[in-house]
Symmetry: C2
Subunit: 339 residues, 2 copies
């Protein structure tokens, strides 16, 4: 047990440690430390807290602690679209859980994809002497690194910047595409269509590579006619329904759940049943859609929570990471009833 982590006047002792040592709740510790008028704390509990504060060397002022250390217990997280999808929220949730586990607090800033707000967010974090910064994108993409990011220890989350020297953590799109296709192959399908997105992106390239790898591994020869492209929303999936029917496919892997939702409507209009006539699998596992379609949609989940966890672990040096290529996080299947 080193002096710096457990000895007298340790900068790392938290209110939680005091509560544990005193056998009381964090609320009780807070009451005693802040000497809150009107709080009904028994004399015995109050004394136990005071004893624990002295024994552990707890300092109630986190900011004073930070100054005395020269570096803070903050980790900054810059997110570009916190308000549009639940995806950013899941990255934040994972990052926060992992940060707290190691005694760090997350400073979150939403940049709204706006360069001025982003500059301000990063400046704010530098002013608060963050231990490091997680820079995250709500969808997986290559980014231009804001110059200021080089002033902090930075990990890119759900995005990457080749040649920047910054470590990054992204979803394994190819494995995800392969997992989706394997699920359809395992259900007995041989004629499997893929509705890919029209938008150039790592998801487009990776999921297609995974689809092809799965078919090749199963010895299935597939013509390009089974790969169609559609705008990555409900409207796109709806629009390609006839092409899917014409292709003779018995199963369809959709680029995302929104495309699958539109395809459901198009197949239904043609009186095709899911999964009896056509099996459908989505991607993203966007709960509000996937779990509530009829039938509920089997999907491959984007691992946003795990990306947040992995970003913090790399930033804190708990997990290794290669600057030359992104760390890949696996995309698991969420089985429902559409396959």
């Amino acid at each position: 047990m080193s002096r710096s982590s457990h000895g007298a006047h340790s900068p790392n002792v938290t209110m939680r440690d005091v509560a544990k040592a005193a056998g009381v709740s964090i609320a009780t510790v807070s009451h005693v430390i802040n000497d809150k008028a009107g709080a009904r704390i028994g004399d015995d509990a109050r004394r136990r807290v005071q004893d624990a504060v002295i024994a552990l060397g707890y300092r109630p002022n986190a900011l004073a602690k930070t100054l005395s250390q020269g570096t803070s217990r903050f980790i900054g997280l810059v997110a570009d679209q916190i308000a549009t999808t639940p995806f950013a929220g899941q990255i934040i949730h994972g990052a926060q859980d992992e940060a707290w586990r190691h005694g760090y607090v997350l400073l979150v800033a939403n940049s709204d994809g706006n360069a001025a707000a982003e500059d301000e967010a990063i400046a704010m974090m530098l002013e608060h002497q963050v231990h490091g910064i997680l820079y995250s994108s709500w969808y997986h993409r290559e980014i231009d690194v804001p110059e200021q990011l080089h002033q902090a220890d930075t990990v890119l989350v759900n995005c990457f910047a080749p040649g920047s020297g910054l470590r990054s953590v992204v979803p394994d799109e190819e494995q995800g595409g392969r997992t989706a296709t394997d699920e359809l192959i395992a259900a007995g399908h041989r004629r499997i269509a893929f509705v890919n997105t029209t938008t150039p992106s790592p998801a487009k390239v990776g999921r297609l590579a995974g689809y092809r790898a799965a078919l090749a591994a199963a010895g299935i020869d597939t013509g390009e006619s089974l790969v169609v492209e559609a705008s990555p929303e409900q409207e796109g999936g709806y629009a390609v329904a006839q092409r899917i029917v014409d292709s003779g496919a018995t199963a369809v892997f959709c680029h995302n759940d929104r495309v699958a939702m539109g395809l459901y409507d198009g197949l239904r209009e043609r009186e095709l049943r899911i999964p009896e006539d056509v099996a459908v699998i989505g991607f993203d596992n966007q709960e509000v859609i996937a779990a509530h379609l009829r039938p509920p949609l089997t999907s491959v989940a984007l691992p946003h929570y795990e990306l947040g966890v992995a970003g913090v672990r790399i930033l804190l040096g708990l997990d290794p990471a290669d600057e030359a290529s992104p760390t890949l996080i696996s995309c698991p299947i969420v089985a429902r009833r559409s396959v």
Copy 2:
């Protein structure tokens, strides 16, 4: 111009103020202040930044500033479900924008609706001497106030606690229900059904009151047969489709967009067209659903961004608020093509 806000050694001067005074970007200020090796800053720009730092009394260390003031420029925001819906993200976005406008930084913590995590989140914020705390719920509800919240200046956002003495800001459910119903009346409908939720909540009570008030104001007598209850998801809306058809309603106000999505399917199976045969209006304006149904769904928006803004304004004393009753924020209509 008071000395405290603009004079020498003001604790409120930010990097942005320095950038503005020097006519350079925030990134440039950051480079000069941190004396970053390798940054290519012209001598002229460097001198202008240094002049502005002296003239404005800027102190680069935000934490030292905080300690010297005794209270911090942090506002805490505790959110219960940051990862499940985009709603929490919108509250955070609004709160951040308004906090930044006044030189404050948001410390965000996700409690996941878990009492232990919530205790820890609030303790963390108290340790960081937050100026105050916004305590938010992802859906509008009455809450039991965690005891620790009384140790900080607190405003409840999207929730309320009668008798707690805490100010709160919530959506105006009754106005929203009235707005939705008025939209259907204005389109010429007289037989208007309401699919309410089975879940007891301020939304259930308020939207029903608004529905009734709108009908009464238009002189429309409506039997209770036009109000049905359903579980507040797609499955609930789908299940009541036959009852809606049997009621002879020409228009339906749905408790939320998910219910409307299920009802769409149920109406379509019965070969009814939207809006020609039955007009449908939703509530929540959940973009991923409402904007992409066929036809796109007219909805009443929950004002999450505005709730975040209002919470910060009340906390900073910029807007008045009554401790005896919640401040109500208006729910605007978002017209699409289902009415």
